[in-house]
Assembly symmetry: C2
Homo-oligomer: 322 residues x 2
């Protein structure tokens, strides 16, 4: 098949990453179907797009036949995934099972969105794919972290048992247009606070670092990963002892939350916002930084868009909402 | 209700621990139902017992009404749980969900068997309940370890959302009568090898340590835990930041695998077996030792049976099989 002719399903396609991915796939010429229950996904993210929409819960059997499936359906920000922890946990665990069943029925290739949260509050820095993580099983984030870890195991074991062509990507902190203004993530919070002239809230002393990946970089990584030959991936991963491909995707550039706030204010010079400090919430990871050497070696992929450029595009998007 | 009058369901009651628990509960006067699919449980473990048997898969909805449910159904030894990793994973994850549904329908109290394997290959020694663990998500043991971790999260979140009276116990290495001779665990392996005069296989240099808990100690802990008042448990755990009770049960006495082999040979003086060394399998945890301070403080429980006494009873059981 020629690239750009694929029939693609994006589970969670009305969410932030899905909406960006859908635009890129449409631009490449793919036929795109979006499955979303609009629990956190937003219909407005699909405005004007020539996509088929399945308004469904990913935990139910999925109809149809596709070449590629992007498995992105799960609440992903703490206020969203903590609102109904059982929903989050079952969406992760039952969602991947329904996706794998569909893939096995129609022979699709699957890219499953895992997360840097499988590393928890890491004791190793930066985090390579080989790091086993440091996750509190009984904490307030465990519905997400452990649900995502269990989903990785389902993918691993279905691939081992049935040869299902499923690939894992552990997504680090990503930002860009179509982020939900209400999802409580640091980039959207800061931009909105700055645009509204409200105080910009830093948790702790603002010295905790984050990697900030612009969404276009991630989407480029998704395409490179999906286009990689199954046998080539196996040749890369099998000697490392992995029975499933797993790649970090994130930007290793390290910024403190305070630096982010300052750059946002620099790009919104009319803002009257000031920085204020608040206590850290429970189990908040202090440091996260991806090691992306495997993605570079395997796919030739690495993030290219500097924070200031990505922020400019994101601020432009949020200005259109105002 | 008077102790000993409870109507009790033991999921996985034909397994090693379940068979010992059933005997103790019957001796206390309880009415006992055993649910087992006999995947690893053995019908002979129930010989002569006045129990109702439900030959069912724990992943399916469970009929009936009980006061207490012991949730023990899962393959628990590496050769068993690695035989069909997807079966293991779904038995853990769907099993706890069916148990919780039943408990919520009939108002039962649940004791769910978690495992020291949630600590993985620990970097902290001994392991308290507060240790977050060190588990390889994509290794050959992850179907068990991550399935058990996810099951803990289901229990936590169902308790938080619905008040379900479920308690977690993390069981460390346990031995005793009714162990499956074929399950590949070190105690049964050594006893069988010694009785048959075969070489006793040590993996690595035999210097890795294990805690060996005699099953009567564990069963005594189960009863103390189930008899504990819900409010009293909450008063113990809530100030620690835990929304669900979780207790280690194991014997902190630390022995090397080599010491175990030597004690077995001492108690089987007629044996002609010799010790032989084999390479360590992948992801084999090197050290495990429970911190049982919480169980002692909360329940007044601690293990009482020394290794030599427990081994004597276990060897006597295996002699009856020969």
């Amino acid at each position: 098949m020629l690239w750009g002719m694929e029939k693609v399903l994006i589970c969670g396609g009305a969410g932030f990453i899905g909406a960006n991915l859908a635009r890129r796939l449409l631009a490449e010429g793919c036929a795109v179907t979006v499955l979303d229950d609009f629990y956190t996904g937003r219909r407005s993210n699909l405005d004007g797009l020539d996509v088929e929409v399945l308004d469904r819960d990913v935990r139910e059997p999925i109809p149809g036949a596709y070449d590629w499936i992007f498995s992105l359906a799960c609440p992903a920000s703490p206020p969203h995934y903590q609102r109904d922890p059982l929903f989050t946990l079952t969406t992760s665990i039952d969602g991947i099972r329904r996706v794998l069943e569909l893939a096995e029925r129609c022979g699709a290739r699957v890219l499953h969105a895992s997360t840097s949260e499988v590393y928890g509050d890491p004791l190793v820095h930066p985090q390579p794919e080989t790091y086993w993580g440091h996750v509190n099983t009984l904490g307030i984030r465990s519905c997400y972290d452990e649900g995502k870890r269990a989903a990785e195991v389902f993918a691993l074991e279905r691939r081992r048992a049935r040869g299902t062509d499923v690939r894992l990507v552990r997504i680090f902190n990503t930002y860009g247009p179509f982020m939900d203004p209400k999802d409580g993530r640091v980039v959207s919070n800061f931009i909105l606070q700055a645009l509204r002239g409200e105080p910009i809230t830093l948790y702790g002393d603002g010295g905790q670092t984050r990697s900030f990946q612009f969404v276009d970089d991630l989407v480029a990584g998704f395409l490179a990963y999906m286009r990689a030959d199954k046998a080539a991936l196996e040749a890369f991963f099998a000697p490392k002892g992995y029975a499933i491909p797993v790649l970090n995707m994130g930007n290793p550039g390290e910024f403190t939350v305070r630096q982010l706030a300052e750059e946002v204010l620099r790009q919104i010079p009319e803002s009257k916002s000031e920085l204020v400090l608040r206590p850290l919430p429970g189990d908040d990871p202090k440091r996260r930084k991806p090691d992306v050497a495997w993605a570079k070696a395997c796919l030739g992929w690495e993030p290219r868009i500097p924070l200031r450029d990505g922020l400019a595009k994101t601020i432009a998007y949020f200005r259109t909402l105002a």
